[in-house]
C-alpha cells in the first residue's frame, strides 16, 4: 500500500492545486496512451456556464434569439434547482477548451479535468467521425468569421431579415449535413477570401440556372444554344433536376435557391457548416460520454491508488460518479430514456472486463476481444465506431442482463404492445439490433430528400419523405416547409412515400386556396 500523501485535502481548490492534479492526470493519461489536443482549461462563473450552455457550447457564436431562449430556460431551471448545471463543458477544438465552474469543489474540478480534458479530448482527437468531419484547429476561427459575418449582415440588412433567415436555416440544419464528402480544413482569412469569390461565382451559377425561364428573362440572357460549358449541370437537356435526389437540403438551397441574395447564401452556408461540425457529436453520444466516464473513473482510481487523493475526496467522487452513470428503469419516476453515460460506461468497462476476465460467453460472442490487451481493445473501439455500430459490435449479453434491457414493438395497427425480446438467450441479438437502430441517426430523423426542382415550369420544389415502418411526419412539418418555402421562394411540396414507393400523403406550402391542408 502506498503511503497516503494527497496533493490536497478538503474541498477548496486553487490554481496551484489544480495544476498539480492536472500534471498527475497528464502523466497517467500518457501511460494509458490517451492522445489529446493541448488543453485550455478555463475557470468560469455560473453565469458564464449558463451562457456557454445556451450557445451549444460554442465559445463564440452569432447572435440569435434562440440562444437567448436557451439561456433563459437554463437560468430558470438552475435557479429553481431543477437542474444541476453541467459542471463541465468541453469543446472540440485545438487546443481543446474545457470550462470548469468556479463553484465546483476540488473533487469536481479533478473529476472534470479527467472527464473532459483526457476523456472527451482524446475522443475528439481519436474517433474516426471527428477526424473525418471536423477540423479542430479551425473551428474557433470559423466561429469568429461566422459571428462577424452575421453581424455585418445585420448591420446592412437589418436584424429582422437576418433573424428570419437564420430561423429558416435552423429548421433545416439537421438536413444540412454531407455524409459522404469531407470538408477541407481552411483558416479564417482563407474563409473570408473565398467567401467573396464564392459570392460572385454562386450568383453567376444561379443566374445560369434560371436564365432561360420565361418571365425572368434578363437582358444579358445567353443565346439559346447553350454549350456544355454554359450549362454545366445539364439543365437544358431535359430530365429531372437534380438528376439524383439530394439529402443535404441546405447545400441544395445554398447552391440553387433562385432568389437568395449572395449574403443570404453565405448565411445558409454558415449554418450548414456548423451543423456539419456538430454532426459527429450527434452520432457518438453514447460512445463519447461512455469513453469520458470510463476514463474519469479509471484515472480517479489511479490517483487514489497512488495516494494522491484522500478517502474523503474519493467517497465524494464515487457518489457523484454513481449518480452520473445510474440508469433508472423504465418504470422509475426518474426515467428519461437510456442514459448515454450509463450505457457507454457499462460498455467500455465491459470491454475491459472481457479482456481481463473473459468468460466462455465472451469467448463465444467476442472471440477477437476476449482475453486480448484491454487498452488496445478500448482504443480500437473508441477510434472506429459511432453509436450505432459500436452497439452493434460491442453490446454484450452481460451488459444487456445488467441493464435488464427489453424491447417492445408499438404498432399502431395492433391493439396491444408486444414485448419482442428480453435479456435472454433468444433475445440478445434482437435487442442489440433494435438498440443499434435506435441510435441510427438515419432512422431517428425522417428520411427527406430533394426530389425535383421544377426549373422549367412553376419553379416549385418537391421533396420526398420515405417512410420507415409507416412512421408519418410529425406536426411540425408545416412550419418547417414554410421555412423551406421562404428560402426557396416558390411553392414547396413534400410527398410522403410508403416503403413501396406510393405517395401516401402530400404537404405543401403555400397551402392550396380551397381544399385546406389535405
Amino acid at each position: 500500500m502506498t503511503r497516503r500523501k494527497p496533493i490536497a485535502t478538503g474541498s477548496d481548490w486553487n490554481f496551484e492545486i489544480l495544476e498539480a492534479y492536472e500534471h498527475e492526470l497528464a502523466r497517467l493519461a500518457d501511460e494509458y496512451r490517451l492522445d489529446t489536443y493541448p488543453n485550455q482549461i478555463e475557470i468560469i462563473t455560473t453565469e458564464q456556464m449558463m451562457d456557454a450552455y445556451a450557445s451549444v457550447g460554442m465559445p463564440v457564436g452569432y447572435h440569435h434569439w434562440s440562444f437567448g431562449k436557451q439561456f433563459l430556460a437554463v437560468e430558470q431551471a438552475y435557479r429553481r434547482g431543477q437542474m444541476g448545471l453541467a459542471y463541465e463543458l468541453v469543446i472540440n477544438s485545438d487546443p481543446c477548451i474545457a470550462y470548469l465552474m468556479e463553484e465546483n469543489t476540488l473533487m469536481m474540478q479533478v473529476l472534470v479535468m479527467a472527464h473532459a480534458c483526457y476523456g472527451h479530448n482524446s475522443f475528439f482527437k481519436g474517433n474516426y467521425l471527428f477526424r473525418t468531419w471536423t477540423d479542430a484547429s479551425s473551428i474557433v476561427d470559423y466561429l469568429v468569421f461566422a459571428r462577424k459575418y452575421v453581424a455585418e449582415c445585420e448591420e446592412r440588412h437589418g436584424v429582422t431579415a437576418v433573424e428570419q433567415l437564420l430561423d429558416a436555416c435552423h429548421a433545416l440544419q439537421n438536413y444540412g449535413v454531407d455524409r459522404y464528402k469531407r470538408p477541407s480544413p481552411i483558416s479564417a482569412e482563407e474563409e473570408v477570401r473565398r467567401q467573396a469569390e464564392r459570392e460572385e461565382y454562386l450568383q453567376a451559377q444561379v443566374n445560369t440556372l434560371w436564365r432561360t425561364i420565361p418571365g425572368r428573362q434578363r437582358a444579358d440572357a445567353l443565346p439559346s444554344d447553350l454549350d456544355s460549358e454554359e450549362d454545366p449541370l445539364g439543365l437544358h437537356g431535359g430530365g429531372r433536376y437534380p438528376p439524383e435526389p439530394q439529402e443535404n437540403l441546405l447545400y441544395f438551397l445554398e447552391k440553387n435557391a433562385p432568389l437568395l441574395a449572395p449574403w443570404q447564401r453565405e448565411i445558409v452556408r454558415i449554418v450548414r457548416k456548423l451543423a456539419q461540425y456538430f454532426y459527429p457529436q450527434r452520432q457518438t453520444q453514447v460512445m463519447n460520454e461512455g469513453w469520458a466516464s470510463f476514463w474519469h473513473y479509471t484515472l480517479m482510481n489511479r490517483l487514489y491508488d497512488e495516494g494522491l487523493v484522500d478517502e474523503g475526496l474519493m467517497l465524494e467522487f464515487l457518489q457523484s460518479h454513481t449518480a452520473v452513470v445510474s440508469q433508472p428503469g423504465f418504470d422509475s419516476p426518474f426515467y428519461s430514456g437510456i442514459n448515454p453515460y450509463a450505457l457507454g460506461f457499462a460498455m467500455f468497462s465491459d470491454i475491459r472486463r472481457m479482456c481481463e476476465n473473459p468468460t466462455d460467453e465472451d469467448r463465444e460472442w467476442f472471440p477477437d476481444t476476449a482475453g486480448s490487451d484491454w487498452l488496445e481493445a478500448v482504443h480500437f473501439a473508441m477510434r472506429n465506431f459511432k453509436d450505432e455500430s459500436f452497439i452493434q459490435q460491442f453490446l454484450s449479453p452481460k451488459v444487456m442482463r445488467d441493464l435488464k434491457l427489453f424491447s417492445i414493438v408499438d404498432d399502431d395497427q395492433e391493439e396491444m404492445l408486444e414485448v419482442t425480446a428480453i435479456h435472454d438467450e433468444r433475445g440478445y441479438r434482437r435487442i442489440r439490433e433494435a438498440l443499434a437502430q435506435q441510435y441510427a441517426l438515419s432512422l431517428r430523423e425522417p428520411n427527406i430528400q430533394v426530389y425535383e426542382a421544377n426549373i422549367r415550369g412553376n419553379r416549385s420544389l418537391t421533396l420526398h419523405h420515405v417512410q420507415d415502418s409507416r412512421r408519418p411526419m410529425g406536426r411540425s412539418v408545416y412550419p418547417v416547409i414554410r421555412h423551406l418555402h421562404q428560402l426557396w421562394g416558390f411553392p414547396v411540396r413534400l410527398e410522403s412515400l410508403s416503403e413501396d414507393g406510393a405517395v401516401v400523403r402530400r404537404y405543401q406550402w403555400p397551402l392550396p386556396d380551397e381544399e385546406g391542408k389535405e
Binding site: W65, R79, L405, F406, V409, E418, I422, S476
Partner: protein, 427 residues
C-alpha cells in the same frame, strides 16, 4: 500541454444580446404578462422583476420529426417481469420514443406547456413603460422653489459681520502683516546694525550726526512697524451662503377617481397606468411619497388601492365631493408647509349639472394655492362637458400648476404624461 485561464473576471453578461433578442421577439407576449402584472400589482410595488410564461408552441423551433403512428421498436432498461411475447395495453401517454437528445430533460412526467422565465426589474420596467411608449423616464426637476436651504459655498470678501469667518480672516491678517512688515524689519535690522557698529567705534571716531540720523531712522521704522494694523478690513473673510432650492423630502399624491357607472374597467386601467407613471415620477424626486386614494360618485370616500381600482360601487357623479374631501384631508393630515401636494384626477368628465361650478370654486379658492400641481385627465372619446370648461378657467388662472388633457386610449397615456410634466420655464 495544458493552460489554465481564469475567465471569471471578463465577459460578463455575454448573452445579454441574445436575451434581448428573445425578449424583443416575444414582445407582445411579454407585454401582455407585464400588463397583467401592472394591473395586479399595487402602485408602489414596481420594484420587482416579473415571471413571464409563453406557450411553448409559440416559441418552438420546428424541425422535421416523426409523428406518432407506424410501427416502432423501443428498447428500455429495467425489465423485471416481462417475458418474450407478452402483450401489454398501450399506456395512455403514447409511445415512449427516444429522449429529447439535448441534455437536461425534465424527467418528471408532467409536460411543459409553458416556457417560463423571469424578467429582471429593469426589463420589467422597460416593458411597463414600453406599453406607454416610454423609452426612459427622465429625471426631471419639477421646480418647487418654495423651500430653500442656505448652503455654504466657500468664502467671500464681503458680507455681514455675523458671517465673518474668524479663522480665515486671522490667517489673511497674519499673512498681510508678514508681507507688510518684512521689508521694514529688514531695514530696521540694517539700521540697528549700522548704529551698533557706529557706537562700538572709539568715541573719537564716532560720527554724531550719523548716529542721530540712524536713530531717527530707527524710530521712524519702529513707528511704521507699529502702524501696520493688526487686522484690516482687507483681511476680513465671510462665509458665503447661497440659497439652494431644496426639494422637500416628502410628497403626497392624491389619486382622485370618478367611479360612476360610466367608468369602465378599461377606463380604470388607463387611470391606474397614469397614476403609476405619476408615482414613479414623484418617487424619483422625493424621498418619501405617500398615496391617498379618493374615489367618488355622488359622495367621496378615502379608500385603499384595492378598493380604489376594483370595487364596483357606482352611482351618479358629484365631483366636488371628492375635491372637498381632498381639501379636508390636506388640512387634517398634510400641512402644505411640510408636504408637497399633488392631485391627479381621472374622470370621464361626466358631472352633475350644477356641480362643475362648485369644483372651480373649490379649486380656485382653497386647493390651488396649496398644491404643487394638479393634473386632470379626462378619459373619454366623447366631447367635453361642463367640468372641462370650468377647469379651463382654472388652468388659465394657474397655468404653471394646473394641467388637463384628454386620453382616449392607453397609447395616449404617455404622451399626455409628457405633456403634463414637461419642463416649464423657470418663473
Amino acid at each position: 500541454m495544458t493552460y489554465f485561464i481564469d475567465r471569471r473576471a471578463n465577459a460578463k453578461n455575454k448573452s445579454a444580446v441574445n436575451r434581448q433578442r428573445f425578449l424583443d421577439r416575444y414582445r407582445t407576449h411579454i407585454k401582455r404578462s407585464v400588463e397583467e402584472a401592472v394591473n395586479r400589482r399595487s402602485i408602489t410595488d414596481m420594484e420587482r422583476g416579473e415571471k413571464v410564461s409563453i406557450p411553448t408552441r409559440d416559441i418552438s423551433e420546428p424541425v422535421f420529426q416523426h409523428g406518432p403512428g407506424g410501427k416502432r421498436t423501443i428498447v428500455s432498461p429495467g425489465n423485471k417481469e416481462f417475458v418474450e411475447g407478452d402483450r401489454l395495453r398501450r399506456p395512455s401517454g403514447g409511445g415512449g420514443g427516444d429522449g429529447s437528445g439535448e441534455g437536461g430533460a425534465s424527467n418528471q412526467g408532467e409536460g411543459m406547456d409553458e416556457f417560463a422565465f423571469s424578467l429582471t426589474r429593469e426589463e420589467f420596467l422597460d416593458f411597463v413603460f414600453d406599453g406607454l411608449e416610454l423609452p426612459h423616464l427622465e429625471r426631471k426637476a419639477l421646480k418647487d422653489l418654495d423651500e430653500v436651504k442656505p448652503v455654504r459655498a466657500g468664502v467671500t470678501r464681503d458680507g455681514v459681520p455675523a458671517r465673518i469667518n474668524i479663522v480665515r480672516s486671522m490667517r489673511e491678517a497674519y499673512a498681510r502683516r508678514i508681507a507688510m512688515r518684512a521689508p521694514l524689519r529688514r531695514a530696521l535690522r540694517a539700521a540697528q546694525e549700522a548704529l551698533d557698529e557706529e557706537e562700538r567705534k572709539d568715541p573719537v571716531l564716532r560720527n554724531p550726526s550719523r548716529i542721530a540720523e540712524l536713530k531717527a531712522e530707527i524710530e521712524r521704522l519702529e513707528k511704521r512697524l507699529e502702524a501696520v494694523p493688526f487686522i484690516d478690513t482687507y483681511d476680513l473673510r465671510y462665509n458665503n451662503l447661497i440659497n439652494q432650492p431644496q426639494p422637500s423630502s416628502k410628497a403626497v399624491m392624491f389619486c382622485v377617481m370618478d367611479v360612476s357607472g360610466s367608468m369602465t374597467q378599461a377606463h380604470k386601467d388607463i387611470a391606474k397606468r397614469f397614476f403609476l407613471l405619476l408615482y414613479l415620477f414623484l418617487e424619483r424626486n422625493y424621498e418619501k411619497v405617500e398615496l391617498v386614494f379618493v374615489r367618488h360618485h355622488t359622495a367621496a370616500k378615502e379608500v385603499d388601492e384595492e378598493e380604489f381600482f376594483y370595487s364596483r360601487e357606482t352611482g351618479g357623479t358629484i365631483v366636488s365631493s371628492a375635491l372637498t374631501l381632498v381639501d379636508e384631508i390636506i388640512t387634517r393630515r398634510y400641512p402644505p408647509t411640510q408636504w408637497n401636494l399633488y392631485v391627479a384626477q381621472a374622470s370621464d368628465g361626466d358631472n352633475w349639472d350644477d356641480d362643475s361650478v362648485n369644483c372651480r370654486e373649490r379649486l380656485m379658492k382653497s386647493l390651488m394655492p396649496r398644491l404643487q400641481y394638479y393634473t386632470y385627465v379626462e378619459i373619454t372619446p366623447h366631447a367635453h362637458q361642463a367640468l372641462w370648461e370650468e377647469y379651463e378657467t382654472v388652468a388659465a388662472e394657474f397655468p404653471d400648476r394646473f394641467a388637463m388633457r384628454q386620453i382616449v386610449e392607453a397609447g395616449d397615456i404617455y404622451p399626455v404624461f409628457r405633456e403634463l410634466f414637461k419642463r416649464r420655464a423657470a418663473h
